[in-house]
């Protein structure tokens, strides 16, 4: 899925008009200029985690969780600027990790990979559930 479609789908599940969303999202602090520049590229998991986390913070005003539990991700610290984004998306159950040895033996977020469309839609659906519960 491209970055643009990811953002459009996110707008749709949240009932936001996607027109002018790049400027609006940047002003609100949950999108970066790079998201528009790279709108036609396949969205990587680390970029998806950033957008999801910043959307939680800036739009839904959902506070961060403790990220100690995300240390089980062997590649968490491979990304200094997105470690917290990944940890928050993971700890909230929005984005899963790969279990490379089964039974939690080697959990790998695989931050530079991409997910197929069905998985991305499932992530956005889980985000939507948090959005719904945050309104209660």
């Amino acid at each position: 899925m491209t970055t643009e479609r990811f953002i459009t789908e996110l707008c749709q599940i949240s009932g936001t008009d996607p027109d002018g969303i790049y400027i609006k999202g940047r002003k609100e602090g949950w999108l970066e200029a790079a998201d528009e520049v790279s709108k036609d590229t396949q969205i990587t998991r680390k970029i998806a985690a950033r957008i999801i986390h910043m959307y939680l913070l800036k739009v839904l005003h959902v506070n961060d969780l403790d990220i100690s539990g995300a240390k089980e991700l062997k590649d968490l610290y491979d990304c200094r600027v997105c470690a917290n984004h990944i940890a928050q998306a993971y700890m909230r159950g929005i984005m899963n990790a790969k279990d490379l040895k089964r039974d939690g033996g080697f959990l790998w977020f695989d931050l530079n990979s991409t997910d197929d469309d069905a998985e991305v839609m499932a992530q956005l659906s889980r985000l939507s559930s948090i959005a719904d519960s945050s309104l209660i």
Binding site: R26, G29, A34, L57, D66, C79
Partner: protein, 588 residues
């Protein structure tokens, strides 16, 4: 863009053997103080927020205490170059960087920016300084910056963050099985000397030496003290000076510990410095093409098989920036090296920078507007106050006015997850360690006289950090079993440390730091003779201490002063994560 390999090293002063030599005429300066956007706002910093911080610094009069540098960290640039130039993110910084600099300077503060020695910034913006050093440095001078922090993501010649892990091929020599020299085969394992502690022998079907290179210091596992690099040294005897051929039997790889880049030196002359052809696997050994060596001295010579490129390449990259800043008209810019301790910058940082980070970040949970972020007191990775302290506290030998400063990262005072006591101790630690003091909180959250303000504005502690003598405190005692408290890397936080620091006016400062999250059970007392002995020749006024009849003692956290004729100074019982810092003045 040339990504075919690192540049040749033409200046011997960039070589490992010459790391102690000077490279630039640096201005001696004390650790920088100011505010940096990263811990406070992460990638979400804006012109509006930065201006608000400037107003708060003036309102709180933090500038009068020394906090003068306002530094824009990652996340402020447009994600691509425009006509080859850096440009501000037009939403976050609509007025541009020059206007931002003018605003900061207009308030008698100094303005700092950020870049990266790689192709991209850590945030992913494709504006890293690599191959744009001249253009970017000219722009930085036009924008009138006073401070430049340079990161290490997406670096081409090492397996740095976001870089290709296979870049380790540049950082390590291949596995070495043997060499063939002057008609004789010399096995690597068991015959050659291995210097340092990085390399080791692998015994098996084929014995060989591996990990010839430099430890990665990004994570907290390894001590920064001692030789962090390894070479394989053969002592060879020749009858007459002349040209000889060397054949190396090697197996190459592309991972930490086994690479493909080989350096060969005859005594102190590097005579070969290239990538060897790939052998296919780290266990597939092949012979190199003959390498021609010239020997000028008969008898025993040292033939060094090595790869110091991890350190040399990074130094070369940082030195290009410094050189271009100077060429463009350096306006006394503070140069902050931020390669996270990866290449052991304590060995070479003094040649080019004013400070060098010693580890990966102190927190990965940075704040954003309305969210203070989270920090920790202790953690098994680098992301805690004690993780940074534990490494910095044994690094005093590397710092100084004529060198620069160990940088255990920016302050996390004011973040969630740490108590006021922890913040106070954090501030005291950084001041005793002569660390740069870069505030990392949203200053709008504090007011004069509140707890956070009192911590960051403690003039007595700041005076230790900014003491003109510029000597980092030395750890002279710790409560865990240890024979060399000033050198041993200790990560068990169930302890109290005692640090001592000489000061320019002849006073000394003593710091007692309880790192444990339990109360310390005993008073720790230090005798004045032991303190003098530990400081050796660094103490300014030794005789005054030896002959003192009384001492004036100021508790720098409690703010209380007293006089005593007692020749020992105690910690009292310290609460969890608490500290006591005393300034001692000898009196007749």
């Amino acid at each position: 863009m040339n990504l075919s390999g690192p540049d040749p090293i033409k200046d011997n002063r960039l070589r490992f053997d010459h790391f102690e030599d000077k490279l630039f005429n640096k201005t001696p300066r004390l650790p920088a103080m100011g505010w940096n956007s990263w811990n406070a706002f992460g990638s979400g910093n804006t012109e509006e927020l930065t201006k608000a911080m400037v107003f708060k610094i003036k309102e709180l009069e933090l500038d009068k205490l020394g906090y003068k540098y306002i530094v824009l960290d990652d996340g402020c640039y447009h994600p691509e170059r425009i006509d080859g130039h850096l440009k501000a993110d037009e939403v976050k910084f609509p007025s541009g960087f020059k206007a931002m600099a003018d605003f900061v300077h207009g308030h008698n503060l100094k303005f700092g920016m950020y870049n990266d020695i790689g192709t991209r910034l850590c945030s992913g913006a494709e504006v890293g300084i690599y191959r744009h050093e001249k253009t970017d440095c000219e722009d930085y001078i036009k924008w009138a910056i006073d401070f430049l922090k340079v990161d290490n993501c997406y670096y081409m010649w090492d397996n740095a963050t976001f870089a290709d892990p296979g870049n380790a091929k540049y950082s390590f020599a291949p596995n070495i099985r043997s060499i063939y020299f002057a008609g004789k085969t010399y096995p690597a394992a068991g015959y050659a000397d291995i210097t340092g502690t990085c390399a080791s022998v692998e015994y098996g079907y084929i014995d060989y030496v591996t990990s010839i290179g430099t430890f990665d210091g990004t994570a907290p596992e390894h001590s920064p003290v001692g030789s962090r690099s390894s070479e394989l040294v053969f002592e060879v005897e020749i009858d007459e000076p002349g040209e000889f051929e060397l054949v190396v039997t090697y197996a190459s790889g592309k991972k930490e510990g086994v690479g493909g880049w080989l350096q060969v030196a005859v005594n102190s002359d590097v005579v070969f410095d290239e990538m060897l052809p790939d052998t296919g696997s780290p266990e597939t050994f092949k012979d190199s093409a003959p390498i021609k060596l010239r020997f000028t001295e008969p008898g025993f010579n040292k033939l060094r098989i090595m790869n110091h490129r991890r350190q040399e390449n990074t130094l070369l990259s940082y030195s290009k920036i410094r050189r271009e800043l100077e060429a463009a008209g350096d306006r006394d810019i503070v140069f902050s090296i931020c390669e996270w301790g990866k290449t052991q910058p304590q060995n070479w940082g003094h040649k080019v920078g004013d400070s060098w980070r010693i580890l990966n970040d102190i927190t990965f949970q940075v704040g954003s507007d309305g969210n203070p972020g989270t920090a920790k007191w202790e953690d098994d990775y680098t992301t805690s106050i004690t993780s940074q302290y534990n490494k910095a506290v044994i690094m005093d030998e590397f710092s100084g006015l004529d060198k620069g400063w160990n940088d255990p990262d920016m302050l996390v005072i004011g973040m969630d997850g740490i108590s006021d006591t922890m913040c106070r101790t954090h501030m005291a630690m950084w001041c005793m360690l002569n660390a740069p003091l870069m505030l990392g909180l949203d200053l709008r959250r504090i007011s004069k006289g509140d707890a956070l303000y009192n911590i960051i504005s403690n003039k007595d502690l700041i005076a230790l950090d900014q003491d003109p003598l510029g000597i980092q405190a030395k750890r002279i005692f710790t409560t865990v079993c240890c024979t060399r408290p000033d050198k041993e890397y200790i990560r068990d936080n169930k302890r109290t440390d005692v640090l001592v620091k000489p000061l320019a006016n002849g006073d000394i400062a003593i710091g007692f730091f309880n790192l444990d999250q339990e109360s310390q059970s005993n008073d720790i007392s230090m005798d004045i003779d032991m303190l003098i002995s530990a400081l050796g020749g660094k103490i300014i006024n030794k005789d005054a201490f030896l002959n003192a009849g009384n001492f004036r003692i100021k508790d720098l956290l409690a703010g209380e002063e007293s006089e005593s004729s007692d020749r020992s100074f105690g910690s009292g019982i310290l609460n969890p994560c608490d500290c006591k810092v005393l300034r001692i003045t000898p009196l007749p």
